[in-house]
Amino acid sequence: MNTNKVLVIAKREYLTTVRRKAFVVTLLLTPAIFFFAGIVSTRMQISQAVARLNEGRVVAVVDSSGLYAGAPFAFDYTAPTELNFDPRQAKKPAAAPKKVPVILRHYTSQQVALDSLEAGKVKSALIISSDFLASGRVRIYENDTRTFTNSSDQRPLTNWLSRNLLDGLADSVRVDRSLGIGRRLDYFTKDREGQWALKDDAKELAGFLLPFALGFLLAMAIITGGQYLLQGVSEEKESRILESLLCSVTPAELLTGKMLGLGSAGLTLVGVWIMAGAFTSASVLSFIHVSVPASLLILGLLYFLFGYIFYASIMMAVGSLTSNLREATQFSGYLTLLNVCPFWAMYVFINTPNSAFAVGMSLFPPTAATSMMLRMSASAVSGAVIPPWQIATSLGLLAVSGFLTLLAGSKLFRLGMLLYGKTPNLPEIMRILRQP
């Protein structure tokens, strides 16, 4: 094989791809979409919830239990101060807790209270059942059309209920402490070394998200590189250029160059996303003392390499066997689904990363790359250990499969490039593959 020619092909494929408008748009638009979905929309949701919590309210109260006959019907609610995980806000002085005025109006019947709510005279109606002390049953009525509402929005009312229920039975300090117990509870579990350690939810979340994101990006890189290859081969076949090329280069040189160049384009895409993600989240990750282990990166790269060879070889065969790009894209869609299908069973991987299903998926070559990354994500949270032999076997099977699909793909490529206007059926493909 002539290395210079391989590099010339790889360089051309790479530059042609990364200069395409579609590549640039994908490069910029995908993180923008994730940024919007992950940050902007979340912030909007939070700010909406906070705004709702901070707005004053007039509440109709129907106390059938009589337990709140002596309770004050107007008070200021002060929301508890939450822990701040954002290092960019760490040095800023804490804002003074906001006091929210709450006015309660006593109503004699539920119907009158609801009529008042309908008329817009009150914001919500609190119905305390007659057997409240025994059953704890309370109803809150609101004119709220949002699909997802947060029960914490009702904290002013639940606080009012708790405080006034205990009025005279405990001093205010004990009441406050009683209401805040859940928030200051330090939860210890055994770490991987078997030592008691404070459970750090933020760190665990990051520990899960890092391999998860890597698995997702790995799947994206494999798919993207494979799609470029499919597109390239299909276009060259449609434009009848392959026969001229094969006069100067061998099919093996052409394929190797294409796989190298287009795989690099896929890696560039994902690499830029990773760097952008690392840059924007570096301060948060360092604040919670999370770093990306080198072993994870090396494994990610190996899975990308073998996974890419596996899928790219199939994509190449599909591109050369089908008559046009549209037909090729239809076939490749199924391959893409196969690559990402482990994400559909994500709950299995998260809850039982060492279950037979998860192990099987991570050993099965078409799903091995993404499945193993998901298992590693889950093990970061649960503390489950993935046996090294499983990683080695998974990588080995994927490497062997990649090599075999490369051989089969090359053979089909040599056939497909000479076929115009007809897509062979499965028996015909099998017939070719059986040739020595």
Binding site: V8, R240, S248, R414, L415, L419, R431
Partner: protein
């Protein structure tokens, strides 16, 4: 020199190229002729090492056509295309680099070729912006770049206007003078007569004509002569028919008649003969005759490949 020896290709028991042997010398323009489905494309694909023969050998200057030894070969297939969304220069330079040129040399040679074909002003334009004829010329440039030792052109004149046909003919003549071996496959028989030194015609995979173009035409002459003379000739011994034709006389001789004896008899009539030249049939007539009469074909299972045959052919490679 390209040497093809007893080359054979069989698809599923059907012989599509049957024991074909021919040579093409350096500095020769050689025509590969045949009706559609005769096996020309398969033969070319075997020469360019896209398909491997089932029997026989193909070599160039004594070296194999496979692997690193193969000569600098350029092939312009009949069904051809180009990268559309790249500048003309980049498209051409890429082909040059694939043929072993450095990027700088490829670009330098690309400029020379583009100037030669009148495309220099389009260097930075996208290929898709070129007219069909211009793209056709660019495809020729992509075949010619890299100074190929063996140049295989399949219907290169298709789509070119008369001026560009002349440009291509000039280029081919120059390449021939420089020692390039040119294999030209075309159905334009007048171009073969004008451009080619020798020709091979295959029909259903068999060699049915091979040799010097002029000699082939002479061999197929029907013992007819064109007589130009002052006065009206009378029939003489050995003349089958004598027909006036555009100020000349077409003289058909009997099989056993000798042209010199007939000419002597005509002169003896006192006729002022200015020319008495044999009528050589055009290659096109010979082509039609050979194909329709099935000259040189065996009774075996030969013929063009089916789609199924192709699967086996390429898969076996």
């Amino acid at each position: 020199m390209l040497q093809v020896r007893n080359v054979r290709k069989v698809y599923d028991g059907r012989t599509v190229v049957n024991d074909v042997t021919f040579d093409v010398a350096a500095g020769e323009i050689f025509a590969l002729l045949g009706p559609n489905g005769a096996g020309k494309t398969t033969l070319i694909r075997m020469i360019t090492d896209i398909v491997r023969p089932d029997g026989g050998t193909i070599s160039f200057d004594g070296k194999s056509m496979t692997g690193s030894q193969r000569p600098r070969t350029a092939y312009l297939p009949e069904e051809r295309g180009l990268y559309k969304k790249v500048p003309v220069m980049d498209a051409l330079a890429y082909f040059g680099e694939l043929k072993g040129l450095s990027n700088a040399d490829a670009r330098r040679e690309a400029i020379e070729l583009l100037e030669e074909f009148g495309l220099a002003a389009w260097t930075k334009k996208q290929v898709a912006a070129l007219s069909k004829g211009m793209q056709q010329k660019l495809q020729l440039c992509s075949a010619l770049i890299g100074q190929p030792e063996l140049l295989i052109l399949d219907e290169p004149f298709t789509g070119l206007d008369p001026i560009n046909v002349q440009v291509l003919e000039d280029v081919l003549r120059r390449r021939r003078a420089e020692g390039t071996t040119v294999l030209l496959s075309t159905h334009q028989m007048n171009k073969v007569e004008q451009q080619c030194d020798r020709a091979l015609m295959i029909n259903r995979g068999h060699m049915v004509l091979y040799g010097d173009v002029g000699e082939i035409r002479r061999q197929h002459a029907a013992n007819e002569f064109l007589l130009t003379a002052d006065g009206t000739p009378r029939a003489v011994a050995g003349v089958k028919t004598l027909v006036a034709e555009n100020g000349h006389w077409r003289v058909a001789l009997e099989k056993a008649a000798h042209p010199a004896s007939v000419l002597r008899s005509l002169l003896d009539q006192g006729l002022a003969v200015r020319a008495f030249v044999p009528v050589v049939p055009p290659l096109e007539d010979i082509f039609v005759h050979v194909v329709q009469s099935g000259v040189g074909l065996d009774q075996g299972k030969s013929g063009p490949p089916t789609m199924d045959d192709l699967y086996v052919q390429v898969g076996a490679r």
